[in-house]
């Protein structure tokens, strides 16, 4: 019980730190803390495979990608932190809207009966629930189609990123070729003039 409140406090504090940090790098650090605490919370909910995946995929892959992009973008002349940070301007109306939406959500949850509903599919036993073997068996038998769709989504993402990055590379290539053609033409003209 105390452990849960401890984790929840760190989780909320790091989430607030993520959205209120002045530099994106601090946000990444806060988000890293958030994801690590969330992985511990998954362990207490007996989702051991997902706790490991949370650390590997989120902290290991996605956050490193964020750090790379921050390093890439802030290597220019202007320091990244001097970019517009208009937190104070719309802080009040935004928080009113968000609190209203939050209150509506809590009200709707207190009215609904979905919390008391029971699942319709097969129900596992508490002893093996959440183990890696149990998860893997479900993933490769009952839930095989969603798993394959996941592979398709990842392939779409890879193709999209290559398309986006390739455009930039083509632009750079064509401008470099243009410059080379200009230079050779200039040299040719100079040579003719010299003759």
């Amino acid at each position: 019980m105390i452990f849960f409140w401890f984790l929840a406090a760190i989780l909320i504090a790091s989430a607030v730190w993520t959205i209120s940090a002045s530099k994106p790098v601090y946000s990444v650090v806060a988000l890293l803390l958030n994801f690590a605490v969330l992985a511990v919370l998954y362990l207490t909910l007996s989702a051991e495979f997902l706790a490991v995946i949370q650390i590997i995929v989120y902290s290991g892959a996605i956050l490193v990608l964020f750090v790379f992009v921050i390093a890439l973008l802030s290597s220019g002349v202007t320091p990244f932190a001097t970019g517009p940070n208009r937190l104070p301007n719309i802080w009040m109306p935004a928080s009113v809207v968000v609190l209203a939406a939050f209150g509506f959500l809590i009200y709707a949850l207190s009215q609904t009966s979905a919390m008391q509903a029971r699942p319709s599919g097969p129900v596992g036993s508490a002893a093996v629930f959440g183990s890696v073997a149990d998860f893997g068996r479900a993933l490769f038998t009952v839930q095989l189609l969603p798993f394959e769709v996941t592979a398709l989504i990842l392939m779409v993402a890879v193709i999209g990123v290559i398309t986006l990055g390739g455009e930039q590379m083509r632009d750079a290539d064509s401008s470099r070729q243009q410059a080379a053609a200009d230079r050779s033409m200039r040299e040719a003209i100079l040579r003719e003039g010299g003759d």
Binding site: F4, L50, I62, G83, A126, Q143, L164
Partner: protein, 101 residues
């Protein structure tokens, strides 16, 4: 007072709305993307908490799919940010108005 499902629902909704606040308030696309990740994770927490209460691992499978989609979304979003903002001095989504009409 033991920890019940309601505690997890409350915690997940608080984190979700912190993420919503981040998307509304911040104009830095990187921090907006991180707020979206926060929202993904609050949804994941709910899926896993409900899976634990019902002892049914469809919730865990769905959380796994959400993590995959989040990875794809982060990769494409960051690629778009890099292609859009590389020549700019600042990084602010309100400065992008190529489709402004």
């Amino acid at each position: 007072m033991p920890v019940t499902l309601n505690h997890y629902v409350a915690l997940a909704s608080v984190i979700f709305f912190i993420g919503v606040t981040g998307v509304i308030v911040r104009r830095n696309p990187l921090i907006m993307l991180m707020s979206i990740e926060l929202m993904f994770n609050s949804a994941n927490l709910l899926f896993i908490a409900f899976a634990r209460v019902w002892l049914h691992n469809a919730g865990q499978i769905f959380a796994f799919l959400v993590i995959t989609v989040a990875a794809a979304e982060a990769a494409i979003g960051l690629a778009i940010i890099v292609t859009t903002f590389r020549p700019e001095k600042y990084v602010d989504v309100d400065d992008v108005r190529a489709l402004h009409g």
